[in-house]
Symmetry: C2
Subunit: 305 residues, 2 copies
């Protein structure tokens, strides 16, 4: 069962208290696809410039990721630079050069269109919607968004959300989108907008899942230290949807099932935690499925009572 992932493939410059990298592979689509690749076949839809390195293409290919939807256009690849605060709970964006990404109009290769799972990374809601419309035979589709789209593209976003099975956002975005301070009330309001499943990511404090009228919470993994939080949320998304694709869940037939969704949130947390252990995507160069399943068992051990 294959997963289609849409979003940015980029170069990032990142400085944390542990060091600094001026240019490294990044972008939401990259992190989602790399994390998901441990569970399922990921097929990406993205755009890069002429400067996109062969080594980065090879990294994605080495994880079995389908690059048929990776468009290459004249000019440079999307570039983003940021610096994290001492405690890494805040980051300041230093540069956002859209470059090739400025005119991104996602085009799906024919063999993508009948895949059952779809994860839409954080891009303009209308683009997310256009991809959703190109797919047929979807079982479970959804994505991410951010404060900018919530405030400045609200109508477009609400129209897009109507057609999603799930939404993955952080707690401040959930509060902004719903206008509710309480996460329970925020979740109810967002579920009424469309997505039956909502995952609220809370960074180092874990994540909460809402599905219909039940809820599941997982605490954060205590990392020592957090090396670079860039991409943790997208890696979470990749683990979450990747695991559901691996399990071939089919809500139209047998519901998603509380057990699968709970495990998916934990696998999301596992992938987010690994991502923070090295700069950028570096942890995915060596990570194995055995390590992933080992950390899943660790989550069980430190949460069970």
């Amino acid at each position: 069962m294959s997963l289609v992932v849409v979003g940015s493939v980029a170069y990032d410059g990142v400085a944390t208290p542990h060091g600094r990298v001026d240019r490294m592979l990044g972008g939401a689509c990259t992190y989602i696809a790399l994390a998901a690749s441990y569970f399922t076949h990921a097929k990406i839809v993205a755009v890069v410039g002429e400067d996109f390195d062969q080594a980065d293409t090879e990294l994605l290919e080495s994880r079995g990721i389908d690059l048929a939807g990776l468009e290459r256009v004249p000019g440079k690849t999307f570039f983003w630079a940021a610096v994290y605060s001492e405690d890494m709970n805040e980051r300041t964006t230093l540069r956002t050069d859209l470059n090739a990404f400025a005119n991104f109009a996602p085009k799906l290769p024919e063999h993508y269109k009948n895949q059952p799972y779809l994860m839409l990374g954080n891009i303009q809601p209308a683009l997310q919607h256009s991809v959703r419309e190109q797919m047929n035979g979807l079982r479970f589709a959804g994505g991410d968004t951010m404060n900018y789209w919530i405030s400045d593209y609200r109508g477009e976003l609400l129209e897009t959300l109507k057609h999603w099975d799930f939404l993955l956002i952080n707690d401040s975005e959930a509060r902004q989108l719903s206008g509710e301070r309480s996460l329970r009330r925020a979740a109810q309001a967002i579920q009424r907008m469309g997505p039956r499943t909502l995952v609220i990511k809370r960074g180092e404090f874990g994540a909460v899942l809402f599905h219909d009228d039940w809820q599941f919470s997982v605490p954060g993994y205590l990392l020592d230290p957090v090396f670079d939080p860039t991409g943790a949320g997208d890696s979470f998304a990749g683990g979450f949807i990747g695991y559901l694709a691996e399990q071939e869940i089919d809500p139209s037939k047998d519901d998603v099932g509380p057990n699968h969704l709970r495990a998916a949130v934990v696998y999301g947390s596992v992938m987010g935690s690994f991502c923070c252990e090295r700069f950028g995507v570096d942890r995915f160069r060596t990570l194995t499925r055995a390590e992933i399943d080992g950390r899943f068992r660790e989550f069980k051990a430190f949460t069970e009572f």
Copy 2:
């Protein structure tokens, strides 16, 4: 098996976005004893002034709390007033009138001295230590502290901690006390100071327990809404130590046991969550053990996977 609780009994003035109360029963010792009273017999050591209301004495007595150690002195009872921010994650202290509490020198009634469990609320470390020294036959003793003692009474606090089995503090206090940002490293450093068991409270995000070399995390209960967070941390402490006293745990004989400590952290979380549902101690006027066990099962349901 009885529990001795030492700390402040006070009157509080509190304003939250949900309302305002100018004068109500409060104080660390009050919250700890009330929460613990659902599990064990609590015996308090505290001081109040002549203005202490008969109705408040009766509330404590109605929960079976032993008031033999509640000293009454001339003057007024400790008064504290604070206002919470809109999101209730910050509070500003408006007034601290120590009054009767200024010369508090805890005196233990004879029948307190051979009790096996001791919870020292947040007071000056030397006073906490003097109580610890008056007890004989202790099985499990420890307490709370705060930023002021950590920064200005560090030597005294470190001497006190050497003799504690457990310490319950919040995450910023754990970082301040240890000088470590990572909670894992902070816990290791604090365990080397004395307490074998450390509970780090994280407010709405839950709590983490460290015991020897293992760890247990529980996410926060999603309240809708949080009415008044005053006393939540002390109610947590009361549920934690109260449950361990109820189970008659004896580390000198059979170790505390991971299962008991895990359940104690969850019962602490349960009591902290109930406390936030009404102003001050009001929730404890109607709360039943059946409701407590019901919420314990809720914690199981929303964390199990």
